[in-house]
Assembly symmetry: C2
Homo-oligomer: 339 residues x 2
């Protein structure tokens, strides 16, 4: 089978690529060809695999050429992130809405030319939810909560969910939308996402660096490890339409946790010195974005697919430490643990 991952050189895209190549098959078929589309090239470790083809350049520009090509499956992860979309309204519309539409139209052209519908997993987001002034956001958001996004990023993700559902209803694609929770602990540098600090307050102290907490320690939020997130994307791909339970968009599982509990877990796993590297410096812009995000989520439909959240946040930290220990140069990321 021939697959594509958009955003295939990104953190989740690369990790998904590695997981798929290691499995060797998906939904019962052997993976022969894996296209990684991204604005930047994927790692040499990925392109060394004979099954991998890298396509480097803006996805919007790549989409027209896709119309003449059939893919069995696409994981559509490419996206501008929340902070970027708030700062640059047109960037968000172009990168998230227009690009998804162009991708859907390319897949539709392939169906109109006689190919079977491509299975498409779209990475949507917990950011589709937000409070509305009349009915405050429920304590927990679930698969049947009425979305009321309060960011452009969340709005664009939600619009794409509905667009994918309609292209699917028409038979132009076999789509489903997995709403990713905030993924932590991400390695590397902070990115433009307003949620970036959820990783930073663990990653930087473990590396011996100070980290800034821009929101109140009482802030609660649903978090998922990279491993559980990748597992979720694959399970949503493999699920039958029936198993998805009617609607095509579903929440992935999360650990619902307060920032103060995250820091307690950091102390339990890595010690007090590490925890004390986190300093609270309020950032009103970040805080105003995060204040409109849900503090907890449930994932009933994902549970029916057999998906479970991480055991607890300490487990998420331990996974990050184990990942670093295996990664080339990972010792640097953990040098703060030996202070």
């Amino acid at each position: 089978m021939k697959l594509m991952i958009t955003g295939g050189a990104g953190f989740l895209g690369s990790r998904l690529a590695r997981a798929l190549l290691a499995r060797g098959s998906l939904a019962g078929a052997r993976i022969e060809h894996l296209v990684l589309a991204d604005q930047v090239p994927p790692s040499a470790a990925l392109t060394a695999d004979a099954r991998v083809e890298a396509r480097v350049g803006p996805l919007l520009a790549q989409c027209a050429a896709l119309a003449g090509e059939h893919f069995d499956g696409v994981f559509h992860l490419a996206s501008a992130v929340s902070g970027e979309c708030e700062a640059d309204f047109e960037l968000g519309l172009r990168s998230n809405l227009d690009t998804t539409r162009a991708l859907l139209d390319a897949l539709r052209a392939s169906v109109l030319a006689g190919a079977p519908p491509t299975r498409l997993v779209f990475s949507s987001s917990i950011a589709v939810f937000g409070p509305d002034a009349s009915a405050l956001l429920p304590a927990q958001v679930g698969d049947t909560t009425l979305p009321a996004p309060q960011t452009s990023y969340g709005t664009q993700k939600l619009m794409c969910e509905y667009m994918i559902a309609d292209y699917t209803r028409k038979g132009y694609v076999d789509g489903r939308s997995a709403r990713l929770m905030t993924v932590a602990v991400r390695p590397g540098r902070p990115n433009g996402a307003a949620s970036s600090f959820f990783s930073g307050i663990i990653r930087e102290p473990l590396a011996g660096q100070e980290a800034i907490l821009p929101v109140s320690p009482q802030t609660a939020h649903p978090i998922s490890s990279p491993a559980r997130t990748i597992e979720g994307l694959i399970a949503v791909y493999e699920a039958s339409r029936e198993a998805l339970g009617g609607r095509l968009a579903l929440n992935l599982p999360a650990v619902n946790v307060r920032v103060s509990e995250m820091l307690d877990a950091l102390e339990a796993v890595a010690g007090r010195t590490v925890r004390e590297r986190v300093r609270f410096v309020a950032d009103p812009i970040i805080a105003s974005i995060v204040a409109n995000w849900p503090s907890a989520a449930t994932a009933e439909r994902a549970a029916r697919l057999g998906l479970r959240p991480d055991a607890d946040f300490a487990d998420i930290i331990r996974q990050y430490i184990a990942d670093c220990a295996l990664a080339p140069g990972g010792a640097e990321a953990l040098k703060g643990m030996r202070d």
Copy 2:
């Protein structure tokens, strides 16, 4: 003040134009200039009013020029209808999604040039609701029901609602979306809407003609008269953001009625001979579209704005008869009543 009605030559657009011109003011300001944008010219009766300016041509092509012009308010009624959008997928995306986006971008350009945000009322639709396979459509859909559109038309309307909410949140427009119920009794000829028969089974018999009922008489649906619909659009325009109750999309009031009750009302108002001109001939395409529409709706937020539904369906028929009696050539539309 300067206003625009898109779809301003259509049935609801013309009626809204007449209502606004007769009022002379809106939200406390005098109406000095009313632009009617449509693919066809408005009636001579409308263009005879010195305040009216007709702009004829596709709205999508008109939008770029709008960026340099400030409107105090826009009623955005222009739309491809449900049946058309099911038959021609690209037409629906272009006429409904792309055109609304182009209109929003023109209004945003005006704000970026220093003008205050234009107040925008978008005519959304009951078609945003539909059943989903896991949780059957509730008996009544209300303002907080989770939409699951089962037509491209409903999907596009819902995407536009969310897009308008985000442009409003960013201050680029002062938008709100009124979800129109099925409007009956419409005069004139059947149109491409799958709901066209709801008017046809009243209008044609009153004119002495046979009418085809394409769905089961047990079909129930929320219906609103043209007069109550126009009243709703104006009230939603005049409402403060606070009075809208948080969310920017709301249902307009409706009479929830079965087709068999509609026919009973027709007999009560116009007699048995008239009712017997309706013949049941199942149309599987129409029936499959209508089967996915809600059978009843509530309108809590609209009620808080003081909006009420028609008294009953007989009242809706009587309004149609009274409208015909006043209209030029209206006697022709009622000639079946004297058989």
